[in-house]
C-alpha cells in the first residue's frame, strides 16, 4: 500500500466553535462553504424564478400590460444572467465543495481560506449585479450583451457596467474555486484512491474545473474591453474607429459554449452516482463515462461559433463548426446509453432522487435532440433568436441541469442535515416539475418555428401565438409551484424530517462512510481504498470488489 504523504505540512483549518451568524461568516470548512454556496444559489433561484414568472405573465396574452418594455428587457437579461452565473454554477460549486473532499477521503479542500474567498467573491459579484436595481441602471441588453448595443452611445445607463463588473468578480471566484478543486482532487485523495477509482462525480468535477479555468478568461478579457469602451472611451467594439463587434461574439461564446457544459457535466456526474445506487448495479461503462467527459470538454472548447451562424463567418467556418458541433452528440449519447444500461434489469428503487434522475434523462434527451438540429447552419438560420432556441436551452438547463441537481439534492440532503427530505412532498415536487417543464417549454418549439422571436416584450394577436403562449405560461406557473413545494420540503425536513442515519441509501462511496452530517474533519481515520466502491468493501468484507 503506497502511502502518499505530502512533503509539505498542511495546517488544518481552524474550526470555529462559536455558533450563530459569525460561524457562517468566518467558516473555512468545505462543508459549511458548500452549504453557503447552495443556500445562496437557492436564493438567487427564487429571484431569477420570480423574474421568469413576470416574463411569462407578460407574454401570457397578446399585448400584455404587466411589464413595460424596459422592465421586460431588464427582467429578461437578469433572469438569464442570474440563472447561469448565480444559480447553476454556484449550486454546482456547492455540491462539489461539499462532496469532493468527502468522496475522495480528504479532511478538507486544498486551500480552505481561498475557498472562503471564492464564496464571498460570488456574494459580492451577485450584490454588485443586483445593486443595479437600486441604482436604477439594470442591465437590459440580454445576457450576452452584444455590442454595439451595449456601447456607451446606445445604452446610456450603467447597466452593462454593473453586468460586466459583477460577473468579473464572480469569475475570479469561480476560477479560484476550480483551481482549489483540481488541486484537492489531484493531491488529497485517500491512500488507494487512484484516478481510475474516483467516483464519477469527482471525475466530472475535475474535468469541469479545467473547463472553468480555461473558458472564463476570454469572457473576462471581453468584459474588460467592454468596460474600457464604456468608461475610458477605448474603441474595441467601436466600428467607426476600426473596432469589430465580432470580437465580442467570439470572446463571449469562447466562454459561452464551454459554459453550457460547465453547467451540466457535474450533473452528469451526480446522475452517474445516483442511478447505480438505486438500480443496485455497478455503473455500466465507468471508463466510457469518464472518457466521454474528457471528449465533451475538449470538443466544447472548439465549437463556440455555432452560436454565430447568423453573424456571417463564411462557408468554411460554418462547415467546420457544424461538423464539430454534431460530434459532441456522440460522447453525450454514450453517457445516456451507459445510464440506461446501468438501469437495465436493475432492482430499481424509485425514490424521489431516482425519479428526478430518470426524469433528467428523458428531459435532457429532448433538449439534446434539438441540439444537433440547431448545429445544422441552415436550420439555425431559420430559427436563430426564436423561441425554438429558448425551448432547446430550457430543456437542457431546467430539464437537464436543474432536474439533475434536484436529484442530487434529494440524494445528499440526508448527508448534509442528517434528515431525509419528505418523500410525499418530493413526489409532488417531481410530478409538478415534469408537468411544468413540458407544458412550459414544449410549446416554445412551435412558437419558434412559427417565427416568434425571443426578447420581444409582446406579440400581436395571431391565431397560433396566443394559445401556445398561454399554455407555456400555465406551465411556468406550475414550475413556480413545484419550486415552492421544494423550498417548503427543505424548510420543514431540515427541522422535522425523518432521521436518516449515516447511510440511508445503502450507497458505496466514501461520503456515506462517515456520520450525517459529517464531523468537522470528515473522517476519524483516513480510509484506505481498494476499489471503486470503498464502502461496499467495508460493508461486505467477504465479497469485496476486485479490480
Amino acid at each position: 500500500m503506497a502511502e502518499h504523504v505530502s512533503p509539505y505540512p498542511r495546517t488544518m483549518p481552524t474550526v470555529t466553535t462559536t455558533g450563530g451568524l459569525w460561524r457562517w461568516v468566518a467558516t473555512v470548512d468545505h462543508k459549511d462553504i458548500g452549504i453557503l454556496y447552495m443556500v445562496t444559489s437557492l436564493f438567487f433561484f427564487l429571484v431569477g424564478g420570480v423574474e421568469a414568472e413576470f416574463i411569462r405573465a407578460q407574454l401570457m396574452t397578446p399585448d400584455g400590460k404587466i411589464l413595460d418594455p424596459t422592465t421586460f428587457s431588464e427582467f429578461f437579461t437578469m433572469h438569464g444572467t442570474t440563472m447561469v452565473f448565480l444559480v447553476v454554477m454556484p449550486m454546482i460549486f456547492g455540491f462539489a465543495n461539499y462532496l469532493v473532499p468527502l468522496m475522495i477521503g480528504a479532511h478538507d479542500m486544498a486551500y480552505p481560506r481561498l475557498n472562503a474567498m471564492s464564496y464571498w467573491l460570488l456574494i459580492f459579484g451577485g450584490i454588485l449585479l443586483y445593486f443595479s436595481f437600486v441604482a436604477g441602471s439594470v442591465p437590459s441588453d440580454m445576457w450576452f450583451m452584444y455590442p454595439p448595443l451595449t456601447e456607451a452611445p446606445y445604452t446610456l445607463n450603467a447597466g452593462p457596467n454593473y453586468w460586466a463588473a459583477g460577473l468579473l468578480v464572480t469569475s475570479v471566484g469561480s476560477i479560484a474555486t476550480s483551481i482549489n478543486l483540481i488541486v484537492t482532487i489531484l493531491q488529497l485523495r485517500a491512500p488507494g484512491m487512484l484516478i481510475s477509482r474516483l467516483p464519477l462525480f469527482v471525475w466530472m468535477v475535475l474535468v469541469n474545473s479545467f473547463m472553468v479555468i480555461w473558458a472564463l478568461p476570454p469572457l473576462a478579457a471581453g468584459m474588460t474591453f467592454l468596460l474600457a469602451d464604456r468608461t475610458l472611451g477605448s474603441h474595441f467594439f467601436d466600428v467607426a474607429n476600426g473596432g469589430n463587434v465580432l470580437l465580442w461574439e467570439h470572446l463571449f461564446w469562447w466562454l459561452g459554449h464551454p459554459e453550457v457544459y460547465i453547467l451540466i457535466l457535474p450533473v452528469f456526474g451526480m446522475i452517474s452516482e445516483i442511478i447505480p445506487v438505486f438500480a443496485r448495479k455497478l455503473v455500466f461503462g465507468y471508463t466510457f463515462i469518464a472518457a466521454s467527459t474528457v471528449a465533451i470538454a475538449f470538443l466544447s472548447m472548439s465549437v463556440w461559433a455555432h452560436h454565430m451562424f447568423t453573424s456571417g463567418l463564411g462557408l468554411t467556418a460554418d462547415t467546420y463548426f457544424v461538423a464539430a458541433s454534431m460530434l459532441i452528440a456522440v460522447p453525450t449519447g454514450v453517457k445516456v446509453l451507459t445510464w440506461l444500461a446501468t438501469m437495465w434489469r436493475g432492482a430499481i428503487n424509485f425514490t424521489t432522487s431516482m425519479l428526478f434522475a430518470v426524469g433528467f434523462i428523458g428531459e435532457f434527451v429532448i433538449g439534446g435532440l434539438t441540439g444537433p438540429m440547431l448545429a445544422v447552419a441552415p436550420v439555425d438560420w431559420q430559427v436563430h433568436d426564436s423561441y425554438f432556441i429558448v425551448a432547446h436551452l430550457h430543456y437542457v438547463f431546467y430539464g437537464g441541469s436543474v432536474m439533475g441537481l434536484m436529484a442530487g439534492a434529494y440524494y445528499w440532503f440526508p448527508k448534509m442535515t442528517g434528515r431525509l427530505l419528505s418523500e410525499p412532498l418530493g413526489r409532488w415536487h417531481f410530478w409538478l416539475t415534469i408537468v411544468g417543464v413540458n407544458v412550459a417549454f414544449f410549446p416554445m418549439h412551435f412558437l419558434g418555428l412559427l417565427g416568434m422571436p425571443r426578447h420581444v416584450y409582446t406579440y400581436p394577436n395571431l391565431p397560433a401565438l396566443e394559445p401556445l403562449n398561454f399554455i407555456s405560461t400555465i406551465g411556468a406557473f406550475v414550475l413556480g409551484l413545484s419550486v415552492l413545494v421544494f423550498v417548503w420540503n427543505i424548510a420543514s425536513s431540515a427541522r422535522g424530517g425523518q432521521l436518516a442515519g449515516d447511510d440511508p441509501w445503502d450507497a458505496w462511496t466514501l461520503e456515506w462512510a462517515t456520520s450525517s452530517p459529517p464531523p468537522p474533519y470528515n473522517f476519524e481515520s483516513v480510509p484506505i481504498v481498494t476499489s471503486r466502491r470503498p464502502l461496499w468493501d467495508i460493508k461486505h468484507p467477504e465479497n469485496p470488489d476486485r479490480q
Binding site: M1, A2, H4, S6, P7, Y8, P9, R10, A110, Y111, L114, I175, I179, N180, I182, V183, L186, Q187, R189, G192, L194, I195, S196, I213, W214, L216, P217, P218, A220, A221, G222, T224, F225, A228, D229, L232, G233, S234, H235, F236, D238, N241, G242, G243, N244, L247, L251, W254, T530, R546, Q547
Partner: protein
C-alpha cells in the same frame, strides 16, 4: 492488496507522472493552474492586439509613437530578473534563507526598474496625447501592456511580502513553498513580456 499493486504497475508511466503531481508543493501546483488560466487571458489580449494592429482610421501606431530603444533597455532589466529569481530558488535547496531573501529583493529591484520604465513610457505617451481613447491601436496597446504591468506590480508586492516573511537562519517551510510558487508566477510574467515585446515593439520596426 495484490490486485491493488497490479493495477498500479500496469498503468505504467502515466501513473508515475500523476504521483509526481501528487507530491508537488500544493502552492506551486495551484499557481501553475492559475498560470494556465492566465495564458488564455493574455492569449485573448494578444490576439486582439494583433487583429487590430492595422485597423481603424490613420493615427498613432507602435511605429510612430513608441520609444523602442528605451523599452528594449527596460526589457533587459525585466528579463534579467528571471535570472535573479532563478538564483533565489536555487538557494532554497541549500536552506539559505538570507540568500533567498537577497536574490528575491534583487528581483524586486529589477522588476521595479521595469515598472518605472513603463511609467515613464506612459507619461510620455500621455504628453503626446496618446491615451487609451485616442485610437484603436492605443486602446489595445494600453490594455495589453497595462495588464502586464499590473501583473508585474502584483508580483513585486508578493515577492516583497515573501522576502519579509523569510528570516535569515530560519528553516521556514511555508516561506519556501511561497518562494517556489512566486517564482513560477514571476517567470510567467516575464514569459508574457517575451511575447508582448516582439509583437508590440519589434514588429513595429518591420511594418
Amino acid at each position: 492488496m495484490a490486485s491493488h499493486s497490479t493495477a498500479r504497475s500496469t498503468t505504467g508511466n502515466g501513473m508515475s507522472r500523476l504521483e509526481g503531481i501528487q507530491r508537488m508543493n500544493p502552492n506551486s501546483l495551484g499557481v501553475l493552474l492559475f498560470i494556465s488560466s492566465e495564458v488564455v487571458f493574455f492569449g485573448a489580449l494578444i490576439i486582439t492586439y494583433i487583429t487590430y494592429r492595422t485597423a481603424g482610421p490613420p493615427g498613432p501606431t507602435a511605429r510612430t509613437v513608441l520609444n523602442i530603444p528605451l523599452t528594449s533597455v527596460f526589457t533587459v532589466f525585466l528579463l534579467s530578473s528571471s535570472y535573479t529569481m532563478h538564483r533565489a530558488t536555487s538557494r532554497l535547496v541549500h536552506n539559505d534563507a538570507s540568500g533567498v531573501r537577497k536574490w528575491l529583493l534583487a528581483t524586486v529591484l529589477l522588476g521595479a526598474i521595469f515598472i518605472v520604465g513603463q511609467g515613464y513610457e506612459y507619461v510620455h505617451l500621455y504628453m503626446d496625447s496618446v491615451t487609451i481613447s485616442r485610437n484603436i491601436w492605443a486602446s489595445t496597446f494600453f490594455v495589453l501592456t497595462g495588464f502586464h504591468g499590473l501583473h508585474v506590480i502584483i508580483g513585486l508586492i508578493a515577492m516583497a511580502v515573501i522576502a519579509s516573511v523569510i528570516q535569515p537562519g530560519e528553516d521556514h517551510p511555508w516561506g519556501a513553498a511561497g518562494v517556489e510558487a512566486i517564482s513560477y508566477y514571476w517567470h510567467f510574467v516575464d514569459a508574457v513580456w517575451v511575447v508582448i515585446f516582439p509583437v508590440v515593439y519589434l514588429w513595429a520596426l518591420f511594418s
